[in-house]
Amino acid sequence: MWYFVSPQIVFGEGALDALDEIKGQRALIVTDATLVRLGIADRIKAHLDRAGLETRIFDGVEPDPSVETVRRGAALASEFGPDWIVGLGGGSCMDAAKAIWILYEHPEMEPGEINPILPLGLRQKARLITIPTTSGTGAEVTWAIVLTDTAEGRKMGLGNRENAADLAIVDPALVMGLPPRLTADTGLDALTHAVEGYTCAWHTDLTDGLCLQAARLVFRYLPRAVADGSDAEARERLHNAATCAGLGFGNALASLAHAMGHALGAVFHVPHGRAVAIFLPYTIEFAAREAPERFAELESLLGCSPVTGEPGARALAARIRALIRDVGNPLSVAEAGIVRAAYEAQLDKMVDDAFNDTQMVAAVRAPSYDELRRLYVYAYEGREVDF
């Protein structure tokens, strides 16, 4: 027994017009200062104005949003009384919006209490719209919430099926002209979702197709979107890929690359997509020795050529490395600019944090502490995994 959760999704050119039809009184837009400065928040506000909604903007969301930020947003929501919360931005903004919504409905709750088995009884005060402005996170369709506990320097994986959005609006107009580095980082995040969603122990028949199609789209369109940010076809297909991957892994789970990337990101503030993509080929090579089947199957489908076993899984890792190199992203932690001494000083903490990351439960080959430590070292040095 398992669940498949999805919001209603409006996607493609002109999808933002769906906001004109929203019924309600007040909407709180949860976003960041950059999107306000770029005028994106005002574009959304204009649509909501046409729908007759009064709007307020909370633009205090930072990358890797903290518990404190979410509390501030919830306080504003309580004061304003919206019947819609609109999460606008990348994963940080949309995750913050989900948490702000929950705390608005349940002011007595601590963010750390948001978990998958607690009946939340949401939608008494408001409903949630998510609008991604990058093509990667998939947070517009997932119920996961990642917040940072700033006291412990640790990311917390929270969420409940109830806090999936009511409506996700996936409009490629919002990602036209994104800079190449942001495009590459977020696109590789989508790829990591697709690959880990397809290969993790929690994958299902309902998620496999979504993950496969997402991976195909990223391989085909990410290099084009990085090379030419105004390539409309590439932008739209990549935007769709991120949502497909979100539906896929969001209804399965991610895996080891995410666990390792979360731990790295919490300490060194490497952008999420860049961090998880660095680790992805190494974790595939690690799994290849004992559980290569799903990786080889994915490689067969992507390459239209049957491969099996460990060589097949390693071919997938090589294919991913080629894409990472092609879009100009780092293939190792060292290439990401992290100083070795600083990395080694944090190694024990990262190993501990990765071990206790929720995504670890779905790894098809679970590493021991020593193996996980070696994986971090190999990923730093850019060495192909041979254990």
């Binding site: 669940y3 978990n115 502490y369």
Partner: protein
């Protein structure tokens, strides 16, 4: 020789397996919290059983069958029918997924458990190492 589940002998063998597991010790080194596992009757098992497992800092401190759930206070109580426990012990039901789908009903702080997924996996691995007779 296989040990009958649920029984005092079975839970004590699980204690032995946990205390022999370096992986469990490492993954649960900060863990503090005892469990009562409630085995509820179903078509395959007609009784109710309460298994107590004391867990502290990567070690199992105590394991025993209880005569009632009130005999020992535990931070976490997980209840499920016999057949669901069998699925967990045989590795066919991930305990985290089991709790998320409420096939395993948890009383206690889910987020505390979610912070120790590796330890949860290691407990299941130790369960699998107990030669178990499910009585059929």
């Amino acid at each position: 020789m296989a040990i009958r589940f649920p029984s005092d002998e079975w839970i004590k063998e699980l204690k032995e397996q946990l205390n022999a597991s370096e992986a469990y010790e490492r993954s649960a080194k900060d863990w503090e919290g005892d469990f009562v596992f409630v085995v509820e009757p179903d078509g395959a098992y007609p009784h109710t059983a309460y298994l107590f497992l004391g867990l502290l800092h990567g070690k199992c401190t105590e394991a025993a069958v209880l005569s009632s759930p009130d005999e020992r206070k535990a931070e976490f109580v997980i209840s499920a029918p016999f057949s669901a426990w069998r699925q967990v012990i045989e590795g066919r039901l991930d305990p985290i997924q089991g709790m998320m789908t409420r096939k395993l009903k948890l009383q206690g702080n889910m987020m505390k458990i979610m912070r120790y997924p590796k330890a949860a996996k290691e407990i299941v691995a130790c369960c699998a190492r107990v030669p178990t007779d499910f009585g059929q």
